[in-house]
């Protein structure tokens, strides 16, 4: 690795960090924190007629009608609701288009429905819509896309748009026209960026992400699910634990209302409520509260409307949230969506709750050597007292209730290893009277068994689950030690939450630099008499000054 860049002057050299999604700084467009598509999106009314009329009125002076009757550019792009929100933001910010909030909502709904992405098209990239932190993307293997696009953007940002080559060319022209320093930047000057971007890249993108696809044609013709009804729900909050229960979805103006009746892993009730708009027939975007805190929801409905999957997160701190999986109640099928804990130690007894649908019928089985006494059961939840015999065979188990089954369960006698998950994450300094709050990073210490090969850290390891741990930080490398990053960059809380230090120059540091740091996060788990540690890497970096819905 090259030299360590330290800059107390405000720039943010970060070339060693790209590869971690959200790690790179990009662009100079200012997005207000309020510009989110789920923020009070419920007044969107009018539908297609109003949308087309608005476009005619506000957009067509620049976007002129082409020979085939389509509007220049507008009619030749497909995007997610978030993508359209960003486009409209750009039109308002850069081109002075006058749109009220309500008109903007109408247009986002209109565009997302008429020129959205099919479920299969968004599936590979949902993490970016869900604003999952610490996702490390797969490199793009096509041509130069990894370096030409994904050094600054996520791969997902590119992959969540559909255009033909000529329209990608126009986007490339906008890039350099709006931000002429791209070809001077550290990530743009090691090649003839403009020459490549304006010739090879649009062709490649037009082939890989074309405007017309069978997937979209099929989805446009497909019936769209009605999501009203009762749902079984389960999910996981990193650092806190699993939760589950039910949700009731009812139709409301321009969308749905939802109420949640949930419990956490210990049985403590969690309640929530909210409203949602469903774009493109399957893109659920909700706002509401959960456990008293304002949250937003980004879920995808399955084609048949039987499932909802996604993530919710705190409105003001989107790195904090949880996964959510929901299954419509009422069918004949039974299913296990989640469990309050994913493991049982041999020779111990634990109270375990299973969440799902159809759980009020059939036998419960943890496999050989584990007995379960049912404490309570309903169609959507079952609580058992499970006991693993001292000689119960360690390893992955299938947990079944009648015909319902989950594979994410393990019995263990002693842990073989502990991994810190995620193993690579970023946090961001913030606060300290500055305008941008800090971005935390959540870690879990996850116990593993070695699996058949008897070696830790291999593919066949059996994931046991998150364990209580103690936490500390160490410098990741020599440069971090020299700069005393472990002292200045922030601290780990008892639940594995890293809280970055305050923003701004720190006169106590060498060069008066800010409190960024490159840290090794060490989680220590006590397993009987054994002490196991795992580690991950955390780069706590500078603020994200621009926070668009899609990074």
């Amino acid at each position: 690795m090259g030299p360590r860049r330290r800059d107390s002057g405000g720039t943010a050299p970060a070339d060693q960090w790209h590869g971690v999604l959200f790690g790179a700084l990009a662009g100079t467009m200012l997005f207000g924190g309020a510009m989110t598509i789920a923020d009070d999106a419920f007044a969107a009314g009018g539908g297609a007629t109003d949308g087309r009329a608005l476009i005619q009125e506000r957009c067509s002076s620049c976007h002129q009608k082409e020979a085939d009757g389509t509007l220049h550019r507008i009619d030749h792009v497909r995007k997610t609701p978030e993508g359209w929100t960003m486009t409209l933001f750009r039109m308002r910010q850069f081109h002075g288009v006058a749109l009220s909030e309500e008109e903007q909502r109408t247009l986002v709904a209109y565009f997302a429905d008429r020129q959205g992405l099919a479920p299969e098209e968004t599936a590979p990239y949902r993490y970016v819509l869900e604003r999952r932190p610490a996702v490390v993307e797969e490199p793009v293997t096509d041509g130069d896309l990894s370096v030409m696009c994904a050094r600054c953007h996520s791969v997902a940002r590119v992959g969540l748009q559909r255009r033909d080559a000529d329209e990608w060319t126009r986007l490339v022209n906008f890039h350099l026209g709006q931000w002429p320093t791209i070809e001077y930047s550290a990530q743009g000057r090691d090649r003839k960026w403009w020459e490549i971007a304006s010739t090879q890249i649009p062709q490649l993108l037009g082939t890989k992400f074309p405007f017309k696809t069978d997937a979209w044609t099929d989805w446009q013709a497909a019936p769209k699910p009605d999501l009203a009804g009762r749902w079984a729900v389960a999910g996981h909050r990193p650092g806190i634990g699993s939760y589950g229960g039910t949700a009731t979805v009812t139709k409301a103006e321009n969308g749905y209302r939802v109420t949640y009746e949930l419990t956490d892993a210990a049985g403590k009730p969690l309640s929530g409520e909210g409203r949602s708009v469903v774009y493109t027939g399957y893109e659920w975007r909700g706002t509401g509260t959960l456990d008293g805190k304002p949250v937003r929801e980004v879920f995808a409905a399955s084609r048949d409307g039987s499932r909802l999957d996604g993530r919710w997160f705190l409105t003001q701190q989107d790195e904090v949230g949880g996964s959510l999986h929901a299954l419509r109640i009422g069918g004949t099928a039974s299913a296990i969506l989640g469990t309050s804990q994913s493991f049982l130690k041999a020779g111990t007894t634990a109270r375990i709750t299973l969440w799902g649908a159809g759980l009020d019928r059939g036998e419960i089985a943890f496999g050989p050597g584990v007995s379960a006494k049912i404490l309570s059961r309903s169609p959507t939840a079952m609580t058992v007292e499970a006991t693993a015999a001292a000689d119960a065979a360690p390893g992955a188990r299938s947990l079944t209730v009648g015909g319902a089954r989950t594979d994410g369960f393990a019995v263990y006698a002693t842990l073989d290893s502990v991994r810190v998950e995620p193993d690579y994450a970023i946090a961001r300094i913030g606060g300290n009277s500055g305008p941008v709050p800090p971005m935390t990073a959540q870690f879990e210490a996850v116990g593993y068994l070695n699996g058949p090969d008897g070696k830790p850290g291999t593919e066949d390891d059996v994931r046991v689950g998150p364990m209580p741990a103690s936490w500390n930080v160490e410098p990741f490398n020599e440069a971090a030690a020299q700069m005393q990053d472990a002292k200045f960059a922030g601290a780990m809380g008892p639940t594995g939450l890293f809280m970055p230090a305050g923003a701004g120059p720190n006169p106590q540091r060498q060069f008066g630099t800010n409190n960024i740091g490159d840290l090794k996060i060490v989680g220590t788990v006590q397993d009987g008499s054994a002490t196991l540690t795992g580690s991950g890497r955390l780069i706590s970096t500078v603020q994200r000054w621009n926070d668009p819905p899609i990074h």
């Binding site: 330290r6 002057g9 002129q64 220049h72 350099l176 000057r189 403009w194 304006s198």
Partner: protein
Amino acid sequence: MRNRRPIVQTASRLGGLLAALLLAASPAAAKDYLLTGAKPDKLVLVDAAARKVERVLTIPGGGVAPSTIVPSPDGRVAYVINNHLGSVSGVDLDSGKQVFRADFSTTGEPGGDLRVRALFGMDVSPDGKELYVFQSPVRLLPGEYRVEDTRIAVYNTADGVGAKPVRLLPAPRRIAVLAFSKDGGTLWALGWDLYGLDPKTGAVKETHKVLNWTRANHSPPDVLDIWPQFEQAATLSTPYSTARTDLAATDPGAARTGLMTLDLATGRMDMRDFEDTSAVIFSSVISPVNRTEAYSVYTQLSKIDTDGGRLVKRVDLPHTYYAINISSDGKEVYVGGTACDIGVYSTDTLDRVGQVEIAGCPDQGMASLRVIRR
């Protein structure tokens, strides 16, 4: 009428005489002044020896941050890129008046659709008559932008406020520094390579390879230097970094830092490594007294022997500085840019021997740090 002509001629002669006297007298009396910019719209003139801000001048319509600064050869006018890289202003350093202004874009004019930004490179001809500005235009069409070829716009400095280009020269993309040869016959442009341009036509007369420099077992050098700091030694210098492709990336010798120098009097160019990379460097300056001494800056100040290709000494700075320049006697270097102070260091010891604080602590950002003799 008869009587007036001689009077005018006399006045003109007197003026000429006065100017000649002043010019003749100036070398003895002249001293070093530093010229820097401060956000949002200030030019700051500093008496270097006195460690004192002499004057703070406002750039009309300056925008958020002054960028490249080029002093006129007589040291009386500072040309500064401003207005979001969209304009250049010439500000008289004595009166504070804007005596020259060119707004690059045509979007404000009837039928005009070009938005034009100056990307760092700017210099004035040695006779002070022409100002050369590297520009990147984009055409704003209905519903779309179209990137145009980069160019160098040439302005007559005498055209004052509202100046329009008298010539548009074709120019390679990604130029970051423009520097005239001492005789004015060549305009050097540093980008991917170092191009020697004909200032009349823009024709590339010669090219010194920089990124296209092919060296066995070395990656193409990386260069980005937007700080014109060549006036004291008439030598353009810039740091570069390269990687040894025959060594493992973890090998301490795999990353190398060097210095490119171009003698603006002779046109001789040299690129020479001086260390295994151990510090980030943004910009450098050559001593006018000992031309084999270079000084470079970022969070460290380094003294480099360019002839021997070695690092002589390095000291930590209290914070990051982007820009560096040097006194006419070669005894002091000045580190600036970034924050609101200019640090003064002995070239002999690299000890901090003084500093200049700009009142109100405005950020100098990426503004040039120039030395003028007045």
